[in-house]
């Protein structure tokens, strides 16, 4: 009977699942088109990195580097699962993958691809009184992570923490979402604390300094914007 009940919960969760993941995403994404200023403090980097990120939908992102000085102009563009970085020393843009390191423990995809809905299938694997556990599995290749375990608040579905895994199920890093503050009409996490699973003393804090809803033209998301 217990197994039947669990199966019912699982099936009903999957059936209504898309809305839940969209609900979770809405905490980190105020609208379809917005910009945000992100500061990354890393235990392994001397200087903070600051990025101005322009996002439209789930498949178009332009990242402009504002600091540190040595990284200036190393701007990035994401279209679909494709990503380009401009290498100022070489005066050319080079294609890279989403899961490559951005700075510290943060990967390119950690700030360029902020929505899980659309990219991942999921199921609810555990429902505690205070939190639910979702297991996400990538629908396509080339995403930042093959699998993600996400813990969300049972009360308001806000993301609390996540584990990012390889296809074989090995945990690469963990993240916790905190400092929820009212921004653009909703409580949103201002801080994402990412820890390397192999080197536990290495961490990065992604601090969202500002957010603004803006309707960016599609033509902003071209390689021309990298220069």
């Amino acid at each position: 009977m217990k197994i039947l009940l669990l199966l019912t919960v699982l099936i009903s969760s999957v059936a209504s699942g898309k809305d839940l993941l969209v609900e979770v995403d809405e905490y980190r994404n105020p609208s379809d088109s917005y910009s945000m200023k992100v500061r990354i403090q890393s235990s392994t980097e001397k200087e903070d990195s600051v990025f101005l990120v322009y996002l439209k939908g789930n498949d178009k992102t332009l990242i402009k580097v504002e600091a540190p000085k040595k990284m200036l102009k190393r701007n990035m563009l994401m279209i679909g699962e494709n990503m380009w970085v401009y290498v100022p020393n070489l005066k050319r843009s080079v294609r890279i993958s989403l899961n490559q390191k951005l700075t510290g423990e943060a990967a390119n995809g950690d700030i360029s691809r902020m929505r899980w809905a659309g990219d991942y299938n999921y199921k609810i694997t555990k429902k505690n009184k205070s939190d639910w556990q979702l297991d996400l599995e990538a629908k396509k290749e080339g995403l930042t992570y093959a699998k993600i375990k996400v813990w969300i608040s049972a009360k308001d579905k806000r993301p609390l923490r996540a584990e990012f895994l390889t296809l074989s199920g090995k945990t690469i890093k963990t993240a916790s979402y905190s400092d929820y503050k009212m921004t653009l009409g909703k409580l949103r996490p201002k801080k994402i604390h990412i820890v390397d699973s192999l080197k536990k003393d290495q961490y990065s804090n992604l601090i969202i300094e500002s957010m603004e809803n803006k309707n960016f033209p599609d033509s902003l998301f071209t390689e021309k914007s990298l220069e």
């Binding site: 322009y54 040595k70 679909g80 080079v94 294609r95 890279i96 490559q100 033209p217 021309k224 220069e227």
Partner: protein
């Protein structure tokens, strides 16, 4: 000297708007000649303004450089690297002004880079920030989902800059040297490039361009080129290719020969970017001049202060080669670039770098940015 002074004054006056201002000097020591040459002071101001708050996005670019030679009597050169305005509306992006077009993601001998004249004063081709010259033109890009089409009209094609008489690359004075003059609104260049990013990640582009023949420096003949370029990401590796077919091109088997013939060039390469290491490997074919090269470029970026890079091009069948070792040091606002270029090979019509075999050089570039 007066232009450099004007630029410096102007830069200072707009400093409140926080542009980046760079002041530096470059000089090359040529081993065979045992002398310093191509020595100059330079000043550069870079500033851009972006506003996407309104329905029409606006980007203004102000990037200008002045070079004042102290190793020769050349006039001060003011180079408008990017003085342009860009307007963004929905899927349209329109740019007008002094610009440099970019058609390729490769390194070394940029065969698709046909839309910009070149600065041949140093005859070293890969450092595009110095080798490309700006033109005045209009550039309209239309993006529709994964399809992107770019229309280009160059109203002032600008001319190549040739090595000054008496400089190591023009010691005998075979050519006049200096900037090749090209009048405004006469013989415009134009073309279209369309590219499509497939779901698989294949980025494929086709281009047509009507332009001045760039295979022979300083020539005032126009030709038509057709190109095909692609890049594709497989796991962490990027595969890429550039192909260019130029009808009735003017090619240069040796420095003193020019021949008119259809010209087909092809380049295939792979890239990979690791955390602290960038690798590029490519093969490059010129099917009409029978010059085929294999090349590699490696950059190591783990150190905060020192960024070493090495690039090598070697003719697949012949001794003909180009080796370049770069060391870039960044200490606070100061940058020092130390570059060693070595060329080898014979001076026949089958060789390219061999013609420069007596021009091994050590380049030093010291600058401060504020």
């Amino acid at each position: 000297m007066k232009y450099l002074a004007i630029l410096m004054i102007y830069s200072t006056s707009v400093f409140a708007a926080a542009p980046q201002f760079t002041l530096g000097t470059r000089s090359s020591y040529f081993f065979d000649d045992n002398k310093l040459a191509n020595s100059f002071l330079y000043a550069q101001t870079e500033y851009s303004y972006e506003n996407y708050d309104n329905e029409m996005g606006l980007k203004l670019n102000f990037d200008i450089r002045a070079m004042d030679y102290y190793s020769s009597n050349e006039k001060t050169i003011v180079d408008p690297v990017n003085l342009s305005a860009e307007f963004l509306l929905d899927s349209h992006r329109f740019q007008i002004g002094f610009v440099r077009y970019r058609f390729s993601e490769t390194f070394g001998l940029q065969l698709l880079d046909i839309a910009n004249p070149r600065d041949y004063s140093e005859f070293i081709f890969n450092d595009l920030s110095w080798a490309k010259r700006s033109v005045f033109g209009m550039n309209h890009t239309v993006k529709y989902n994964r399809l992107e089409t770019q229309f280009i009209l160059t109203l002032w094609p600008n001319g190549d800059r040739l090595p000054y008489k008496g400089s190591p690359f023009n010691e005998d004075g075979f050519i006049e040297g200096g900037v090749v003059e090209r009048p405004w609104f006469k013989n415009p260049e134009y073309g279209v490039r369309t590219k499509y990013l497939f779901e698989s990640g294949l980025d494929l582009s086709l281009l047509y361009f009507h332009h001045f023949a760039r295979s022979t420096p300083g020539l005032n003949e126009q030709v038509d080129s057709f190109g095909l370029a692609f890049s594709y990401v497989h796991n962490e590796w990027v595969l890429r290719g550039d192909n260019l077919y130029t009808l009735s091109d003017f090619v240069q088997p040796t420095f003193l020969q020019v021949e008119e013939k259809n010209h087909f060039q092809s380049l295939w390469g792979i890239d990979r970017v690791w955390e602290n290491f960038t690798l590029g490997l490519q093969v490059q074919f010129d099917f009409n001049l029978y010059r085929h090269y294999a090349g590699g470029q490696f950059e190591y970026s783990a150190f905060d202060v020192w960024k070493p890079a090495i690039m090598v091009f070697k003719n697949i069948k012949r001794e003909d080669y180009w080796l370049q070792v770069k060391n870039r040091f960044s200490i606070g606002d100061f940058n020092i670039n130390l570059t060693y270029d070595s060329f080898g090979g014979e001076k026949t019509d089958k060789d390219l770098f061999g013609h420069f075999s007596s021009h091994d050089r050590f380049l030093i570039d010291v600058s401060a940015s504020f």
